[in-house]
């Protein structure tokens, strides 16, 4: 069907006007948030030392190892707060933490914050971080406009939430901490936190909204109370979502606010399934989290609005328990509306963040200080580091290899996002030197700075040398013009299993928009989209377009990248354009 312009306009107008949202109300919400931001504006300008990229990368390694080694039951479950709070410990329900407060916390003793849940009002921006053979890369950055001082955020569950707003994070280990993104927090009608009755009443509406609600909700359970255990039958058949279902034998409820708190730590009684007090908020706890009865306060929950009614499923209106949010008192922060100033950032270095002796960096050298690239040209930047002291190179285990990071100054570049590249260091035989090679393309236009070196000493201790603190280390300026741009389109989309799918797209000059003919485009699926993957190749025609057909055999990830000579563009994790473009084919198992 070919729609003419008028019909297209009519349909788009209908979509635009069909909404029932009261935009005046939306404006009021915006203005209230603007007022909150305005109150904290001066704070954001304070210079506070944040976790360095190097430390963040080190934490990545720790996380990867931990995830690989620990069985799920031993992995710290949601909400394992380091301390318990008094029933009246006040979280400032109307004020989430500021980014500055988060910096202060992460710059301090983060051991006590391990696994803590924090609610912070921040701006998240996509951070393009390329990691070689690492399972987890930083996905977002906080306050990325200051490239020397971002907090890097990991998104292990692909929460996929980025922008300006109130977010919940879980603090993970590392000497300076790092944060995992849990999701976005939706404020209640009277402030950040919801009362139990408010949220209980709102859940059916959220469910009726017929949409996947990505928001988390902070529940003011300061006066409530009892955690009541109910049995969750073990039933064969379709398994429930591990996030939502009765994965363990216990389901916990937070009872009605009107009930008096239970002061005993004794195990609560097992009652009938779903035999909850009237009007209580039900919190199935998929992660076997067993909140003590003294752990009152503010709890982060995600409503089960997606859950279809089924046998043994949590009841409608239930919410999954994510974790307990620490109060300002527990965090050592004043509960006043205006946060206190933080410590000034260190200005000298380099410094090792690990205790005791370890390898130190004597010299860092770049093979060149600048390069000019156009079109498909590429050039290699070789970074050579001279260590003193022993550095271990584990060999095949690249997750443990010494690494080096480059970060591009986002100002004045084609891509305004902060971009970080991490590469493993290879020892130069017979020397104390190691090197890493970064292949640069015209899309890498901008100034790149060394921002981390990670090395492991002979005792197996991870030692991070943070060149950010040193200053004056080498930079390289890449002048890139006319980078190729690659698009990818799938038709049909989504597809059904067995259906032929056409993968098509165009290669153009990003600066001029002109189509580029004769460009070899590689197309691959799933695992072959990873670094070093190979794919089928097609060549663009005079219009710069390419076309390739394949049959869908399962839910596929399709990617394409430019593979041309003399330049070789390879797919690179978290670098999706224009080197590689990814799209999902959604295979419909119910299809023919």
């Amino acid at each position: 069907m070919n729609l003419d312009d008028r019909s297209l306009r009519e349909h788009l107008d209908r979509r635009a006007e069909a909404g029932l949202t009261d935009v005046e109300q939306t404006a009021e919400v915006v203005l209230a948030r603007v007022a909150e931001i305005d109150r904290g504006a001066g704070w954001r300008r304070l210079g506070v030392r944040a976790p360095s990229l190097g430390v963040a990368a080190a934490v990545i390694v720790i996380i990867v190892v931990a995830l690989a080694v620990l069985p799920p039951r031993l992995w710290p479950g949601p909400g394992s707060s380091p301390t318990s709070s008094a029933p009246d410990a006040g979280y400032p329900a109307n004020r989430p933490l500021t980014a500055g407060e988060l910096r202060t916390l992460l710059a301090g003793d983060t051991a006590r914050l391990a696994d803590a849940v924090l609610v912070v009002d921040v701006e998240l921006r996509e951070a393009t971080v390329s990691c070689v053979l690492l399972a987890l890369c930083a996905t977002f950055a906080i306050d990325a406009l200051d490239p020397t001082d971002p907090i890097y955020v990991f998104d292990p569950h692909d929460v996929g939430s980025v922008g300006t707003g109130t977010y919940a994070f879980r603090v993970v280990g590392g000497p300076e901490g790092a944060v995992l993104l849990l999701g976005r927090v939706r404020a209640g009608p009277d402030g950040l936190a919801w009362t139990l009755p408010q949220l209980t009443a709102a859940l059916p509406d959220l469910r009726a909204a017929d949409r996947a609600v990505p928001y988390l909700y902070l529940v003011d359970a300061g006066r409530a109370i009892s955690t009541v255990a109910i049995s969750c039958p073990s039933v064969p058949g379709p398994t429930l979502s591990p996030d939502f279902g009765c994965a363990g034998p216990w389901t916990w409820l937070i009872g009605n606010e009107a009930e008096p708190p239970i002061e005993s730590d004794a195990a609560p009684p097992i009652t009938e399934r779903f035999d909850a007090p009237p009007d209580s908020l039900r919190l199935p706890n998929a992660a076997d989290r067993r909140p003590g009865t003294t752990e009152h306060g503010y709890w982060l929950v995600v409503p089960l609005v997606d859950q279809e009614p089924c046998f043994a499923c949590p009841p409608a209106g239930a919410a999954d328990l994510i974790g307990r949010v620490l109060t300002l008192d527990e965090l050592g922060l004043a509960s006043a509306a205006t946060p206190p100033p933080s410590t000034a950032p260190p200005t000298t270095g380099p410094s090792s963040t690990a205790a005791g002796s370890g390898p130190s960096v004597d010299e860092v050298a770049f093979s060149t200080e600048s390069m000019t690239l156009s079109g498909f040209q590429t050039a290699d930047l070789i970074v050579t580091i001279t260590f003193s002291g022993e550095v271990v190179y584990p060999g095949a285990d690249t997750s443990q290899a010494a690494q080096v990071c480059l970060t591009r100054d986002p100002s004045g570049t084609i891509d305004p996002r902060p971009v970080q590249r991490i590469r493993g260091l290879t020892r130069i035989d017979g020397t104390q030197q190691a090197s890493a090679t970064f292949r640069m393309t015209p899309r890498d236009h901008g100034t790149w700075r060394l921002t981390c070196i990670i090395a492991v000493d002979g005792d197996g201790r991870g030692v991070t040398i943070d060149p950010v603190l040193a200053g004056g280390w080498p930079e390289i300026e890449v002048i890139g013009t006319h980078p190729p741009r690659l698009t990818l389109e799938l038709d049909p989309y989504p597809a059904e299993i067995g259906q032929a799918v056409t993968v098509s797209g165009q290669v153009t000059d990003e600066d001029t928009g002109d189509p580029l003919a004769g460009v070899v485009v590689a197309i691959a699926t799933n695992g072959t989209c990873a670094q070093g993957g190979t794919g089928e190749t097609v060549t663009t025609d005079a219009n710069g377009t390419y076309r390739y057909e394949r049959a869908v055999v399962q839910t596929d990830l399709v990617c394409a990248w430019i593979s041309d000579t003399p330049g070789v563009y390879v797919p690179d994790s978290y670098q999706t354009e224009p080197v590689a473009v990814f799209a999902y084919v959604l295979a419909d198992a119910t299809g023919p």
Partner: protein, 184 residues
């Protein structure tokens, strides 16, 4: 925006005048919401995107170099907010295949040479929602908001030539998507 009065409001907002920005929000919220609603197709996501765009604009307004380009700048933020709203959805938005008319309002194609087949609102929405956000945005900006190619290019941050090729590709993709609804 671009009028002298509104330009002055932007100038004041850039200097941190929250009252000025409040006036801007009240003037722009409807436009931002309608654009987001057309791109995203549902109230909740459009509301989220609108809030995110207007709050984000306040945070970054100090970086706006040319107050006269506020509308283009805000439009770019709006499209980005729509992209993020889509990303926030858990899992893919499932689209029922095959199409079913459910009594929604109809619009008819009038293109000569083609059979007059009704494109129901449901069918159009399903077809439109299958398009990538970039294609939805470019169609909305050009065909609904009636922005010229140069202005669309400014709002999307891409060259004009790219806008033209993407517009063409988006129309073709929409036609193919409509065909999947049995409307060929």
């Amino acid at each position: 925006m671009e009028g002298p009065l509104e330009r002055e409001l932007v100038e004041q907002a850039r200097r941190g005048d929250r009252a000025a920005y409040e006036q801007i929000v009240r003037r722009k919220v409807e436009t931002v919401y309608r654009t987001a609603r057309a791109i995203l197709g549902n109230d909740a996501d459009a509301d989220d995107a609108t809030q995110e765009a207007l709050i984000g604009a306040w945070r970054r307004i100090g970086s706006l170099r040319d107050p006269g380009r506020f509308d283009a700048w805000l439009g770019r933020i709006t499209v980005n907010a729509c992209r993020m709203a889509l990303r926030r959805r858990r899992g893919p938005a499932l689209v029922t295949l095959g199409g079913s008319d459910s009594g929604h309002e109809l619009a008819e194609t009038q293109r000569p040479g083609f059979e007059h087949r009704a494109v129901t609102a449901d069918a159009f929405d399903r077809a439109f929602d299958r398009l990538p956000l970039e294609q939805r945005a470019i169609l909305v900006l050009h065909h609904r908001d009636e922005l010229p190619v140069a202005e669309v290019a400014a709002r999307l941050g891409i060259p004009e030539g790219t806008v033209k090729s993407r517009l063409s590709a988006a129309r073709a993709a929409l036609d193919r998507s409509l065909a999947r609804e049995g409307l060929r």
